[in-house]
């Protein structure tokens, strides 16, 4: 393989491996992948925290952190020093072992998710056949960790957070999973590289000019939105940050954590966010592929990074905009709205895939129209039912304007 920007990471690995005898290559290359993931996403985590704070500031007409280093870029390192030097307090009545394990579990669970993501044309640490299932299995560690933290802290706020987290994460796991299934149907595989391959520009463009990503099909757009909403809920971010809900239950499951364990929880949550963004890019935004064949001069892993960055920016934007939901609204939204929509979306995707052979302008227009109707009609009907009886508040004695 010629060394280009595209294959540069692999070439680096092979070059380093050449220093060891043949028998240890598997070990060293495995370790190198782990080191690469830890470094890239560790730094990614650090800079996402500072980017989040700076962007949130801008979204709210503030400046954001700008004192540590140029433009405040060294802020995460100052935070790390602070977290490391703080006293680690464990409540006397806490269940010590789960209390200690919870932060480790949340970080390791999120790190496990990184194993199957295809970062580039040749860059996938573990190319599992059931990569998608593995991702969900590893992602479920978050729930476990949050509940462990809530339960073992022996604090009523933590326990409330644990219960909230279980309810929320279980209810949003379903739409999350269902929203990904159409992509599996389109690729006829659970392997993430194959799912990326099914969106390659080589197979033609969507509607003549759009990149051949699932996002640009009716079911893909719907699935993407459902996935995005469920992903925010899964990663406990505003407006679904009920488990943490500072204004209601102090810091939820984090109430009894301090110092580095607290930082580990943040790390786990951001790792989870990055992993979900990467997963979302893989399923709906064509993974590591350039939108058009002409743009393939830029290496595939750069495209992947760009897409993940764009998604994370969207998450920050959403966090800056919306208010936290109430618990009953959260549940209703998932079970009465997202879940049926995700189920119907399976049908839409099936229709779309079964009509792939339709030819001629009229038939293609009909295909788009029917699929779009299958998305929009349930959306507006379910939405109306969801919000029935709710509306702008009217006041008896005040003029309504």
């Amino acid at each position: 393989m010629p060394v280009t920007l595209e294959t540069f990471p692999l070439a680096l690995r092979d070059w380093l491996c050449a220093f060891l005898p043949q028998e240890f290559h598997w070990l060293l290359s495995g370790l190198l992948v782990i080191i690469a993931i830890l470094t890239v996403f560790g730094l990614g985590f650090a800079f996402i925290t500072v980017a989040e704070r700076k962007f949130l500031g801008r979204f709210q007409n503030r400046i954001g952190p700008n004192r540590v280093g140029p433009f405040g870029l060294l802020q995460p390192f100052a935070d790390a020093v602070k977290a490391l030097t703080k006293e680690d307090i464990v409540p006397a009545t806490a269940d010590k072992l789960p209390h200690f394990l919870a932060p480790c579990v949340i970080v390791s669970g999120a790190l496990l998710c990184f194993a199957v993501l295809p970062y580039g044309r040749h860059l996938v640490p573990a190319d599992l056949d059931a990569g998608l299932l593995y991702f969900f299995a590893a992602g479920a560690f978050t729930e476990l960790a949050v509940f462990m933290a809530g339960w073992s802290s022996h604090n009523k706020f933590s326990l409330l957070a644990g219960i909230r987290a279980l309810a929320q994460l279980v209810s949003y796991e379903l739409p999350l999973l269902l929203a990904t299934l159409p992509a599996v149907m389109a690729a006829r595989s659970l392997n993430l590289q194959t799912i990326v391959g099914s969106q390659s520009p080589a197979a033609g463009l969507k509607a003549g000019f759009l990149p051949n990503w699932h996002l640009f099909s009716p079911w893909g757009a719907a699935g993407f939105l459902i996935f995005l909403i469920a992903a925010i809920a899964e990663s406990n971010r505003s407006p679904f940050d009920l488990p943490e809900g500072e204004s209601e239950i102090i810091a939820g499951h984090l109430t009894e954590y301090s110092g580095f364990k607290y930082a580990l929880f943040f790390m786990g949550e951001y790792f989870g966010l990055i992993a979900l963004s990467g997963f979302c890019a893989t399923l709906f935004l064509g993974g590591w592929q350039a939108p058009y064949a002409a743009l393939e001069v830029i290496p595939s892993w750069v495209w992947f990074g760009l897409k993940v960055a764009a998604l994370i920016f969207t998450f920050i934007w959403i966090r800056a905009t919306f208010l936290r939901l109430r618990m009953d609204q959260l549940m209703r939204f998932s079970w009465k709205f997202l879940l049926p929509l995700a189920l119907i979306n399976l049908g839409t995707a099936a229709f779309w895939l079964l009509t792939a052979h339709w030819q001629g302008a009229w038939w293609i227009a009909l295909r788009w129209f029917a699929a779009a109707a299958l998305v929009i009609a349930p959306y507006s009907i379910l939405g109306r039912r969801l919000f029935r009886g709710l509306g702008a508040r009217t006041y008896e004695y005040a003029p309504n304007n």
Binding site: R58, F59, Q60, N61, R62, W317, A320, T321, F322, R384
Partner: protein
């Protein structure tokens, strides 16, 4: 349309985001130690003592020029009782030339002071006024925040600088009072002189 509110909300924050990079109006932050927001004329923090002395007077001149007469009205009226005054044993002439007591000790514990300005309202001698300093962070509460006479007394020029219109009104009132007192004294002196003259020359019977 269902969901349009969500898009509207996203648009608002997006406008903030883009606007804050080029529109000064959208980024009202004042970066404090380097930049400062102007403080209003009525802004107040803690009391200080006005001294009728030149602007660059040294400590003893500042103490000599204090207007206060140690009447202790402010001490008695301060709600948290953070003023401590001890009267002098001797008397010194005040601005009008009348011998008056002066504060031998005048202390305000500004870590207790709540900035209510009651001391200023009750002082009959325009001696105590509100300051505008607010960067008073110190490592210890005492004695750094227990201000004594030396640190409390500030020249009238300072008062004029931080509160121009109020100081001008006070100065005008004091000048008028002093003029009136002088006129009274002159009149009294004249009357006394006239009485003396009358006593010296017995009335022509």
């Amino acid at each position: 349309m269902l969901g349009s509110g969500i898009l509207k909300g996203l648009l608002v924050t997006a406008r903030n985001f883009v606007g804050s990079f080029h529109d000064r109006e959208r980024l009202p932050t004042v970066q404090y130690p380097e930049e400062r927001a102007p403080v209003g004329e009525a802004f107040r923090t803690f009391p200080f003592l006005v001294s009728d002395c030149p602007a660059d007077a040294d400590a003893s001149a500042r103490l000599a020029g204090l207007r206060g007469v140690a009447c202790q009205i402010c001490e008695r009226n301060c709600p948290p009782r953070c003023i401590h005054i001890e009267k002098s044993k001797d008397k010194k002439p005040d601005a009008a030339g009348k011998p008056q007591l002066y504060p031998a000790v005048f202390e305000i514990d500004i870590s207790v002071c709540m900035g209510c300005q009651i001391c200023v309202e009750v002082c009959p001698f325009d001696s105590i006024k509100m300051d505008k300093v607010f960067e008073i962070a110190v490592p210890r509460r005492s004695p750094e925040l227990l201000l004594d006479r030396d640190r409390l007394s500030k020249p009238n020029a300072y008062y004029r600088r931080i509160r121009p219109s109020e100081a001008a009104a006070v100065d005008a009132a004091r000048a008028a009072e002093q003029a009136a007192a002088k006129a009274r004294a002159d009149a009294a002196a004249k009357a006394a002189a006239a009485r003396q003259a009358a006593a010296a020359t017995p009335p022509a019977a």
